[in-house]
């Protein structure tokens, strides 16, 4: 059997296949979840996994989950992230997922989702915010973190991406150092994420998943704000897809 988890995020789509084949890959979601889904299907087939085969079970998750027309089950990213996070940090843990358009805090108790929280409609405190700011400063995300590490925090509103962008433009106009602006940007996102997570009582190991999960710099700043260690995770961006593939196996039993 092959168990495939497909996590169509707003920015990136993540795929994990387990069973006869062990596969993981990520690709940009682009403008069409449907098209991305087709690309994923073909790529899996090249790697020897036929999503349409009887002995392949597929769980789709993420904001574009309904676009995966060949999925056997459709499950929300909260449940999938919790399942994936549990695999990484144990039966009792807290997961902070900073995604492209959503930031979520998920509390896992005895392996089950006990409670969760998502940011509201606004994109402040999400990956989108960092992406917009990195673009404004003309750097990649990794370069943004590297610059921030060398800078001193300039205060930036953590309330609204649009307002924050004008603040950044002001700083650029004033001739402030890019490093300091970058430090301000990262600080602002971490503050917003921490603010969200403090609405819940975090317990067990706290891990960061999503596209920023590999950045030690970001987890360091976030840990400071949250007031406890937030661990960066290897393959944390695959947490949702991994959870989905595990659920594909459990659901088909």
């Amino acid at each position: 059997m092959d168990y495939v988890g497909i996590d169509i995020g707003s920015t990136a789509s993540k795929v994990v296949a387990r069973g006869k084949k062990e596969i993981e890959f990520v690709l940009p979601t682009g403008w069409s979840s449907k098209e991305t889904t087709q690309i994923i299907k073909e790529r899996l087939l090249e790697d020897g996994v036929d999503v349409l085969a009887e002995d392949t079970k597929v769980v789709a998750t993420g904001y574009g989950r309904v676009a995966v027309d060949f999925a056997d089950y459709v499950i929300t990213e909260i449940t999938c992230h919790a399942r994936g996070g549990r695999e990484m940090a144990g039966e009792n843990c807290s997961i902070i997922d900073v995604g492209g358009q959503d930031t979520k805090v998920i509390l896992v108790e005895d392996g089950m989702v006990q409670d969760f929280l998502m940011n509201d409609k606004c994109s402040a405190g999400t990956g989108k915010f960092l992406e917009i700011m990195a673009n404004r400063l003309g750097v990649t995300l990794q370069e943004l973190f590297d610059m921030a590490d060398a800078g001193t925090v300039l205060p930036i509103s953590s309330l609204c991406t649009v307002f924050a962008e004008s603040e950044v433009i002001n700083y650029i106009g004033e001739g402030r150092k890019r490093e300091d602006i970058a430090a301000g940007v990262v600080d602002s996102v971490a503050a917003k994420v921490a603010q969200l997570s403090q609405k819940k009582v975090l317990s067990g190991r706290v891990i960061l998943t999503g596209g920023l999960s590999g950045s030690r710099y970001f987890t360091k700043i976030l840990s400071d704000k949250v007031g406890r260690e937030v661990e960066s995770t290897e393959g944390g961006r695959y947490a949702g897809a991994l959870g989905a593939s595990l659920l594909a196996e459990e659901k088909s039993r």
Partner: protein, 424 residues
């Protein structure tokens, strides 16, 4: 559908803009309601009422006015309809529940005003709702700062009487509310030219109590394991209760309940066994706001109760019918209405008690605390509500939303995840 254009024109409505609303409502209603499976036949009446929402009832109100009767428009469950009906006048709810009216309200109100107030003001100023045109007098109240200021703006366009609702529930506050009802009685008597006698008031107290009993009966039926009616259908009935003729509404709702009684006997359920039972608590869902019910009920859940103004707050507790003198009747009214637990009161622990009680009575699996964007009172109280629920071991999901559809997918993710959590 009958042609009501002439009537709308005579009401001074903006027909062109109103046509846009008429064009989208049937689709919205069809998507949410007519797509449901196994609906009770008794819903036909409410389907008809909504289908001709700007036709049938407005025509009746105009008929009433032609005979010299007055129509009072109200916005809140604290305003005693009994006083209005005792003067042979008609009370009708005016709360706006559609995004369609919001931009009109935003012309004069700050953006960070709750959508209910914006829609209500927009519906009046843009002349796109017959009910807002027909009402001879609006009855406002002091339940929040946004409304208080909105009355001043509306007051420039239409007669407005404001009732000063106390914000605490001490004995002197109940006395103060009785005085407000007494003052309202005088206003209504003067405006209608009809005296409100003890006999008339006793009659109207009975009339409105009967409506409450019918709604209570409907809600009690939702306590059954086999759910005889969907949350969407129960919600639209609650919404219609605010503006339908009370006597007819009671009759039709009791008839529907007879059918539902039979369904319970036959163990008929509108949802598969094991469907998670959800209670909604929070800000009101004015017609045609069906967004959250629709999301819950198409994501594997069933709404079994609303601790809301469009729900239990509207019908729980009856007015004492044994009083025979007007002052005693007014005291009885004050006591009943001051039993409603709104977030505008401090403290408001009674509401938490209500939610915990309802959760038990309706055997709910989880609670969604819904807040209309920019309703500061319910938003703030949500902290205490959600904490109390957590302490009681009841899963709770907090949601903030408005009348737009732009967050529907995000809401669906939250609600689906919540139901997945309950299913584990």
């Amino acid at each position: 559908m009958a042609d009501y254009r002439k009537m709308w024109e005579e009401l001074g409505m903006d027909l062109e803009t109103h046509d846009q609303l008429c064009a989208v409502l049937p689709q919205a209603f069809g998507d949410v309601f007519l797509s449901q499976k196994n609906r009770p036949e008794g819903m036909d009446y409410y389907n008809m009422v909504v289908a001709d929402i700007h036709g049938i009832r407005p025509a009746e109100l105009i008929e009433h006015q032609k005979k010299g009767g007055k129509v009072f428009g109200t916005f809140c469950v604290y305003v005693p309809d009994e006083i209005v009906f005792a003067a042979d006048a008609i009370a009708t709810g005016l709360c706006g529940g559609s995004q369609f009216w919001v931009p009109g309200g935003e012309k004069v109100l700050p953006t960070n005003t709750c959508p209910l107030i914006k829609a209500s003001v927009g519906a009046r100023l843009d002349r796109t709702c017959p009910f807002f045109r027909i009402a001879d007098m609006y009855v406002g109240e002091t339940t929040c700062d946004g409304k208080k200021k909105a009355w001043e703006i509306l007051g420039e366009d239409v007669a407005v009487h404001i009732m000063n609702l106390p914000q605490m529930k001490r004995a002197k506050d109940i006395k103060a509310w009785a005085e407000e009802i007494e003052a309202f009685k005088k206003v209504v008597e003067e405006f209608t030219g009809n005296e409100i006698t003890a006999e008339k008031l006793a009659e109207s107290i009975k009339l409105i109590n009967e409506k409450r009993k019918a709604l209570k009966r409907l809600y009690d039926l939702r306590k059954n394991e086999n759910l005889p009616i969907s949350g969407c259908d129960a919600l639209v009935i609650s919404q219609i209760a605010f503006y339908d003729d009370p006597g007819r509404f009671t009759k039709m709702t009791n008839a529907l309940c007879d059918e539902l009684d039979q369904r319970v006997k036959d163990q008929v359920s509108v949802v598969p066994a094991g469907t998670k039972r959800i209670l909604l608590t929070g800000t009101p869902l004015a017609i045609p706001n069906w967004k959250l019910h629709n999301i819950v009920e198409t994501s594997g859940g069933a709404v079994v109760c609303e601790e809301m103004c469009t729900g239990t707050r509207y019908f729980e507790n009856l007015v004492d019918e044994t009083k025979t003198e007007v002052p005693d009747q007014i005291q009885a009214l004050a006591e009943r209405y001051m039993n409603i637990n709104c977030a505008c009161f401090t403290p408001n622990t009674g509401r938490i008690d209500d939610i915990l009680r309802l959760a038990k009575e309706y055997k709910v699996d989880g609670i969604i605390d819904v807040n209309l964007k920019f309703c500061n009172l319910y938003d703030t109280e949500g902290y205490l509500v959600e904490r109390a629920l957590k302490e009681a071991g009841i899963p709770v999901l907090g949601i903030e939303t408005d009348y737009t559809d732009s967050d529907a997918q995000q809401l669906r993710t939250r609600v689906s995840a919540f139901i997945e959590m309950l299913n584990n």
